[in-house]
Symmetry: C2
DNA sequence: CCAATTTTGTCAGTGACTGCCACTTCTGGC
DNA sequence: GCCAGAAGTGGCAGTCACTGACAAAATTGG
């Protein structure tokens, strides 16, 4: 309640005046609370920027968990992302993405923070993929002997590829329709699909069973 | 001169007491200068952490620029990384990696900053790949029609994959020999090589011409 | 040895963030 | 209604990263 109000006001102020030009005190006053109270709801000034993003990450992790265990990681990532994109309000997401882009562009610090956040996400998703990989001991691994560390590195790379793709997408967001962005995601996923079937899977195979 | 001394002292202190427990004033005193002077050499407290890393990035960008223009991006990345790994002092790099790992583990802030830095690198390398792609108008693109934005997203993804791989590698660095790490890189590169030849290239093809 | 330039220290100030304590507001049981 | 305890809030003082302005060295070049 209070948390949401503070968050909304903060982002509004950031978009207007810029992040660096807005003090925590400004935000607190706008929300009708003291600075001290702001820091009770958010550990840092920039935490307000990730309230919504974090919620969406939980959705992504959920969607990923719902994929069948024996699916190739790359395919799981692609499908989970599709599910996620279906479950969010497109207009709201686009709107927010543009607002954030404006805030980002004016403040190197926010940009930095945003990128760091993406990396944490990367780690979480990577760990989830690793768990799923371990939980399903027989995949196309009969012909692929690799140490656990190898697999972790590979999985992390796959996640890195996907998140870098999303980052680039967000930074290119103009007034194009979402339809256009979705096509781009699909193109990218197909173009850089790992050659090894244990990771990349076969895109054409069971795609009909999804939707 | 002064810059290097401050940097070395700072990292030493960070490794001893921890990043958060070391104030800029501590570092400045240790180096025999004033706090103000510290900030003349480094814009922020954490900038000292990237002095060496930045130098290595320049090496990587250089190695990448030296690759033939018509080489597939994935292959260029792999080869440039190999060149880079050959040109650095292995012991020194390993030593530093371990020190940094210790510092990272104790401070979420440093971790965050490190990850953000990696993202900036990602962007720079991605941009370089994009320039190279544009500079060489005929590749395997005859059979691959994609908008410029598509390519940028794809290239960014490839870089994301590589950097995520390196991050994961660094976080796993134990007392294994570097030989082991190198093999891991090769395995990962091969396993997630993009299926499309315009991006992934053919690993076996001209690998003899390299070394 | 002097003048111009560069480097450094001092100081005051801003803004993010924290710990501490007092104060208000809610809550459930009598 | 009342009251004890819990939860939320504000005020305040303090730390630390970082900045601008100016003066005091230190360095350089002639």
């Amino acid at each position: 309640m209070v948390r949401e109000r503070i968050c909304a006001l903060a982002i509004e102020l950031f978009a207007e005046r810029g992040y660096d030009e807005t003090t925590v005190d400004d935000i607190a006053r706008a929300a009708g609370v003291s600075e001290r109270t702001f820091f009770r709801y958010f550990g840092t000034k920039d935490e307000v920027l990730f309230l919504h993003a974090d919620a969406e990450i939980e959705l992504l992790l959920g969607a990923l968990s719902a994929r069948p265990m024996d699916e190739a990681p790359w395919l799981s990532l692609q499908r989970a992302l599709e599910v996620l994109l279906d479950s969010v309000d497109h207009d709201e997401v686009l709107q927010r993405a543009r607002t954030f882009k404006r805030i980002n562009e004016r403040s190197p610090h926010v940009m930095t923070r945003q990128l760091a956040h993406a990396s944490v996400v990367q780690q979480r998703v990577g760990d989830l993929l690793w768990e799923r990989w371990c939980a399903h001991p027989d995949r196309g691994r009969a012909d692929f002997d690799a140490a656990p560390a190898d697999i972790q590195v590979i999985l992390r790379s796959l996640v890195g590829a996907v998140l870098a793709m999303l980052n680039q997408l967000l930074s290119q967001i103009e007034d194009e329709p979402l339809e256009h962005q979705l096509r781009l995601v699909r193109t990218a996923f197909d173009a850089i699909r790992p050659g090894h079937p244990a990771f990349g899977g076969f895109p054409g195979g069971d795609s009909e069973t999804l939707r």
